[in-house]
Amino acid sequence: MTQVLAIMVLPLFLLAGIVAAAVLDRAVPPLVAGRSLKASFVGPITVASSRAMGQTGATEHPDTISWILAPILYFTLAAIGLSVVPFAPGVVAADLDAGIVLWGACESLTVVAVFLHGWSANSPLPLIGAYRYVAIGLPAMLLSMFVLIAAALPAQSLAVTDIVEAQRSVWNIVRQPAGFVLFLMLGLSLSLRGPFDFADPYDLAGGTTAEISGAARLTWWLARLAMLVSVSAMTATVFLGGYLGPVLPGFVWLVVKTGLVLVVLVGAGEVFARLPPDRMMNLIWLALLPLSFLMLVAVGVELLLWG
């Protein structure tokens, strides 16, 4: 019964999150600049409706099936990833024993979806975007695995519900603050945003989106926002205690925390600059990946001594 409830809540959660993310995307720049926020609320609707009615472009000999399926796969992965997040105690769409592993599978298939989106256009700029994304997205995903294992250690379980319950004493953000930051970076990478937007950056004329227009562009935009919502909910669940909190009901706490992470991610995407791909790759492999190892060791030692 609670599972049915969770399955019904999931699309609403995703939809509300997409709307919030779209508005935030427009609201953050005027907020930083101290300007009026009035246009932020209507802007996304205007853009979405104009894209829905716009003409859909085509290239010479694209891989049509992959080109159409890639945004759909991307969006579906966002929904599947969200399905392991418990909305309230016991209310979870997919209560798997290996929930964290399912989330990991969604992460790695996201890289495939973004690559296919750029590759299947049969055009240079989308292809370069696709390759750059694979080069950065894969190691970014790799280090998130160590962060997630360190989050699963105190719970002694791979189930997301157990990970939330294990945070009753202390949230995982306190256990591994650097892991939280690394996971936020993964969030930027999964939703192709700001400093980790190597798939669709302006310097490649939009990268994988360089050759798409109209409804195809709208779908890709929605899929990116959906993944942003999904990764925000996951961050809130794994590091900020998910539905745990005093006084208010669990679902409200999850929404508040997800919203907070959403604001942080959109703001980070706006504020931080993007490194060139080769320097970013060095940073990830030489600094961030060892850092994620250290966090894992630190949590292990802490549990061994005081756990």
């Binding site: 024993d97 592993v101 495939v112 292809l127 694979v134």
Partner: protein
Amino acid sequence: MGLIDLTFLVLSAIAIVSGWRVFATDSMVRASFLLLLSFTAVGLIILMLAAPYIGIATIFMMAVEMMVMALFMVMFMMNPAGLNPMMMVHQNRFAIGAGIVAFLGLSAAVLTTDFPTDPVDPGRQVIRDLGLEMLGPSMLIFETAGVTLLAAMVGAVVLSARTGRFGPSDEGSRPPGLEVGGEPAGRRVEKASGHGHHHMHDSHVGDEDAQHAEGNPEADGHNADGGESGRRPSLRSDWSAGNRSMTSKTEATS
């Protein structure tokens, strides 16, 4: 036939058809992702066999693996982007023979094996059992496999890194000789006949191009020809630049 049987049949069909399409497609990238689709269906079947960790981990690992495979195949093969049609099969006769033998052998194994009907108790903690098995009695096997794979990874990085076996990879490398210490194998690039003076000095490739365009009155006269003849020596100087840096490197080390 229940829902579970139907799901199994559909997943098996996906696995088999996409596995067949791997060999029928004409692109390396398509072949990789069709194989991924096949493995995903197999992973879901494993999930149905009450092995959630192994099932989902199969999908997870195969997604990364096929992505890396597609990337490296396109990188190392002379097929830009993997979109060009190319022949994906070879040794047809041997492959057909091996395929028939494998099919008959596996069919015989399936038909003659007496499979146990031993459903897993839903309350059993299979992931916990798997973890205890892997880090208990089977630890030696997994650690051996892990260290072997790590050694292979280090080897692959050493061979493909910029400071690799044949010198800096972005400066033009030479294949090893056919005999020990012999001339490099492969096609020899003939010396430039009319523009020999360009190789007299040790300037940068771009400088040579510029000087060529300046010093050649013909190039200034005819635009189309100028572009052509301006480009041709630069190819040669690329080679000589590579050779030069190689010799200077061997000199430095010896």
